[in-house]
Symmetry: C2
Subunit: 704 residues, 2 copies
DNA sequence: CTGTCGGCTACATGCCGACAA
DNA sequence: TTGTCGGCATGTAGCCGACAG
């Protein structure tokens, strides 16, 4: 045995001994490893000490913070301007807040950001921010006042400083969380985030040192081994999992900070899917009590989940830090009082909580309110995927534009929009959204989105070459995009990820009828179209004054009066009708319609018009530009209405059409470098798939 | 293998498997054991659920409660009368309480006990009681009003219902708490408390089922095995230890309740010995702020200890249930306000906390205040031993009689007595005590106590035949007890464990000078005697009115005026002087003095007058009436001033005299049935043992 | 009688490559 | 490339009698 090999042998042995008190070993590297083990074992008590300390407001590394907060979160920079919504702040308490004691709290208050502190809960590691705000005396939404133009400072996010992403997140598998105490490190993470590994060693092994949100140091043995070779974290990993109480489905984030430090953070999985709240609450039933905020849920479920016992273990009965109410009602009252009095105040914002940010970038709000919101408008809205790994855009249609809580906040645009989602199953609890959170796709359906795709990092999905050409999609006779990338210059200024508002006036209505005709059998009229079309309150916009005006729409008035920048605007009734016709029918009656959406949103198919598996195969191959799709086609899986997973061909095609809800296509055949799966979710029409074999099933395909 | 043996074999195996999912075993007993294991394993989560519940006020079995509370605790029965001391209540907060907001709170308020609830902390299992009290309009201390005579209901304690004790407590050894997960069951416990074991089986084994203070059921495998045979708890024990976070030194209590249930409770060890507080506080330095209660400690240290981390593990940072402040200042304020207004109120009393009961049995208070308290009086007071296993009586001398907190509670007898302890090391933090807690032994030293010994159960110490005869004690020329068992009939009425007050008038002063002469070289006067003797406020008594009067003693007045039952009383100056002479000299100068105290209090020797180990041996043998003491004498251990433990003879006798502080004598030789050890604590004189070899060391011997 | 110890067994933890997706 | 599995080594929990105090 030559010396290096023996040294390595000793190292291996010592690492597994664990309890090493006074072994005299002359190999330096081995001693380092011993130290590693000892320090890891010592971390238990250290962490406990930390948990017993009072919350220390030592800041979290901002890059790590953002990585933990998730891609959806943008925090304002100091000196930028935001609108503070007490109403939204109250939602964070997950209970009701009585603002009765404070006279005249405005619905939103323009503030200058004094300071943002990036923090993390000592116990759960949940990241949060303390934002110090200074109310500006004049809370006009200053489209003409220059707030947007000069004063506003750009928000920052984790990607701002460098184009090359310096973080990597992975959702823990069962094996990562449960078995044997190891963690499979994706090669990308090992090679781009971790320190360089000496592959000459056999096996290549190193100690990875990472700081968590508290600055506590964790050490992991990183080894490259196995056949085929793969990167693993072994010693130290299970300690981390246990201390942080991680379970499969939680995510771990590695961040290479600007100072070179490797940081590690966690994102707890959400329970119950996107928009899954912990207590059911319907937005359609107003609870008319004196509370300001009936429970809202916008698309983020809270931290609590089925195996929350793992987190509650050992927690005091009096401790609800990890549960609801990280923000207390009195905190909201205090902030709102100070804000209403023009005094500086501080709010805590928990980006992983269930509720949207209540400090809205001034430019976003301004832009969103200069747009005209109309029933029937198509929009998309970004959500985190259920595993928090990526952002998905979901399509929806505005079903109503009205003030969410007219009794308590009569002038508030907060959750102004009632929406119907193309995939209501996934977003059942998101009934209302605020306009600045959505991006208008079109006031009509069938306009593809590629030019609108928001700037995103690591968009790994290849752009099928024919994607922008909607003519290639089945069942659509719609021949072009009548609008193109249209934008309101005022509304996007200063907003990097601006939500686009497309002025209604820009609409070219000529082609929409084509679309409609193409979608519906010309001799058939959707059943309720005539009864519904006059029954819609349509549009809202706002003036310059801080409390924008909204005229209640008289159902008898064909062209109601709205105010835009103080000027009355008349709405074209045709547009309104068009939207209603298209969208409501589409949602309520599943005939032969195709959605072609931005590539990771998914695609919709109407299965009911297909005759055979062969036909489906052609369409799918066509849709994704896959050559030799037949090789993969046999591996396509689908989930039926009962949740059972089956394979294409397992049952007669008619049965398949009736039952299929979600398809998963392995794409190996099309691209050797992209083996990701596709999900095709099937959305049933109004009549239900079970009740009629003629009712069409709409399949929406989105990237996993 | 015959069937029973095989069945037992299976049982053994299955018990050790632990994880048994679907093994088909036809032996009924074996299945029972499997169930045992499963339930024990399931208890972890159950206990966690319980900890997360809000405190449930389900009562604790009173017998179990008393066993956990300890032998010192007597709780009043409903309809009995107690005096409520807000001042004492405030001590339970372990912080300062500002009564400023409540006008005129009396120092003590006579109340009728409405209800007593026996409860236990959900997390720590610490027992406490909620006592509901109804203030009586007239709070006179009614010596002549009959309160003591007819109305008072006797207190109850754990021994009341049956002469045969139905509980057993054991302090956990290292082996019990740490090793191998087993518990050595003392034979007495196994045979008298546990269910009867079938000794015909091989080995004899059974499942012991016990309920804890919450009613949760714990199951232990109880086996009688080993050579020599002994009782052990195995399976289930370490789970219990871990869940309850027990450490060596904690005590476990098994109680056979009246309904036949076996109950199990715990008593956490105290840190730092008797009277060891968590924060140093001297009673001699008044902190003259506006708070009502500078920190008091009477002789019970709080629950916190060195390895409190074991208890804090997993507790929330916001949770201080297990720490200080189980009683909050606002609780005291509320109770005091209601009490002062004559409204019913409720208090929580934690008998294991550091502070004495603030609900004082009316008869005890009455009795104690009809006695006359004088500087120099000798008394004894009961304390729990450090391991909480038994009660020890400690001797002391009243050094001052004055109101503890004259600014806030000018009329309060609470902690009226400043005391010097014969063993100050063990009771350093007990500077002041309340008169009802002490039992006057004599107003002079050297009066033996046997006739006064309070009624105690299981007094296992044999009464040495010559103990009552003080003439046998070395270095005492004092030839007799001039008083004999003297008592004030009024003061002991209705008080089962009454503290005796000896009227000063009964003192026979004739022999005291003899004593003094015997104790001091006639040609030597203690150095500070002349300067101090006029500087003592001596006596306090009280009138019938609720606020007793105390005249401030003018140092220039030789015979100050005191009020007893409204009548002025003149104090004989000689008595005063005597007390001062005897006691102060004794405490400050260790010349040739002997304390002979009640048998479990300990005995004091002045080592400095001895010449040799042989002489010591004779004295010790004599002192305890041990025959053949030489057999044990070689095993006598002593602890020196540095805390080192040595054996008699390890060093020269002069060295031994200088250093020895505490002796432990195994008494095997004297009594085969009583192998308890004796501690002899050595108390150094004023000059310090190190500074002069002539300064005497006083040894106090007390039972362990 | 009972506290502590070392021996022993069984189990849990955790590292490993195999294998397959 | 990486998730999961079985194999296996190691450390530890926990039951046991020996032995001594």
């Amino acid at each position: 045995m030559e010396v290096p090999a023996m040294a390595h042998h000793c190292e291996e042995i010592l690492l597994q001994i664990g309890l090493l008190s006074s072994i005299n070993v002359s190999v330096v590297k081995t001693l380092m490893e011993v130290e590693l083990r000892v320090q890891i074992e010592g971390q238990g008590s250290k962490s406990i000490q930390a948990a017993n300390m009072n919350e220390v407001e030592r800041g979290v590394n901002p890059q790590l913070w953002h990585a933990c907060a998730g891609g959806m979160v943008q925090m304002p920079l100091p000196n930028s301007h935001v609108y503070y919504f007490p109403q939204g702040h109250a939602e964070h308490t997950l209970t009701t807040v009585d603002f009765g004691g404070i006279p005249r709290v405005p619905a939103f208050i323009l503030c200058r950001v004094i300071d943002v502190k990036f923090l993390a809960d000592m116990e759960s590691d949940e990241v949060y921010a303390k934002i110090r705000l200074n109310p500006l005396g004049n809370t006009d939404i200053g489209y003409n006042r220059g707030i947007d133009d000069g004063v506003l400072v750009e928000t920052r996010n984790v990607h701002d400083s460098s184009d090359k992403p310096s973080s990597f997140s992975k959702t823990l598998t069962q094996s990562d969380a449960n078995n044997g105490g190891g963690f499979s490190v994706p090669r990308y993470c090992a090679e781009t985030i971790f320190p360089r590994l000496d592959y000459a060693a056999d096996p290549p092994v190193q100690t990875v040192v990472a700081k968590d949100v508290h600055g506590d140091v964790w050490k992991f043995r990183h080894i490259y081994r196995g056949t085929p070779r793969r990167h693993l974290l072994t010693t130290g990993w299970s300690t981390f999992v246990n201390q942080k109480k991680l379970v499969a489905g939680d995510s771990i984030v590695f961040v290479r900070a600007e100072n070179g430090d490797l940081c590690v953070g966690i994102r707890r999985a959400k329970r119950g899917g996107i928009g899954g709240p912990d207590s059911p609450s319907s937005w359609n039933s107003y609870s008319g009590n004196s509370s300001s905020s009936p429970s809202f849920y916008n698309g983020f479920s809270s931290f609590i989940r089925d195996n929350e016992s793992k987190l509650m273990k050992g927690n005091s009965k009096r401790n609800n830090v990890t549960g609801r109410g990280k923000v207390r009602p009195e905190d909201v009252i205090e902030a709102a009082s100070l804000a209403a009095n023009g005094q500086a105040f501080e709010v805590s914002f928990y980006p992983r909580a269930s509720t949207p940010d209540f400090c809205v970038k001034a430019s976003s709000l301004t832009a969103s309110l200069t747009s005209q919101w109309c029933v029937g408008m198509r929009f998309k809205m970004a959500f985190e995927t259920e595993d928090s790994a990526r952002i998905s855009w979901f399509m929806g249609t505005i079903s109503s534009v009205d003030v969410a809580d007219p009794f308590h906040w009569p002038n508030s645009p907060w959750r102004l929009l009632q929406v119907n989602w193309d995939e209501p199953d996934l977003l059942q609890n998101v009934k209302r959204v605020s306009p600045w959170l959505v991006e208008v796709v079109s006031t009509m359906p069938m306009i593809h989105l590629s030019p609108f795709s928001p700037q995103r990092k690591k968009l790994r999905l290849p752009q099928p070459p024919d994607l922008p050409n909607e003519g290639d999609y089945v069942f659509s006779s719609f021949s072009g995009n009548p609008l193109g990338p249209s934008s309101n210059p005022a509304s996007i200024q200063g907003a990097r990820h601006a939500r686009f508002g497309i002025p209604l006036m820009d609409l070219n209505l000529n082609n929409t009828h084509k679309l409609q005709l193409g979608l519906f059998p010309s001799n058939e009229t959707p059943p309720y179209m005539d009864t519904k079309k006059d029954d819609v309150s349509c549009l809202l916009t706002m003036g310059i004054s801080s409390s924008f005006k909204m005229e209640k729409v008289d159902e008898k008035i064909k062209a109601p009066l709205f105010v835009l920048f103080g000027q009355p605007i008349h709405i074209e009734q045709e547009v309104e009708n068009l939207s209603i016709k298209n969208e409501n029918q589409e949602l309520d009656n599943g005939h032969c319609k195709v959605f072609l959406e931005s590539e990771d949103v998914g695609r919709s198919l109407d299965l009911s018009v297909l005759e055979s598996y062969e036909e489906l195969e052609k369409i799918l191959a066509n849709l994704f530009g896959i050559e030799n799709f037949d090789k993969s086609y046999a591996h396509v899986l689908y989930k039926d209405s009962k949740g059972d997973v089956k394979r294409i061909g397992d049952e007669p095609f008619s049965e398949f059409v009736r039952k299929a809800r979600k398809l998963t296509i392995p794409l190996d055949a099309s691209n050797q470098n992209d083996k990701r799966k596709w999900n095709i979710s099937v959305q049933s029409g109004e009549h239900g798939l079970e009740s009629s074999k003629h009712s069409g099933a709409i399949m929406t395909i989105f990237a996993l």
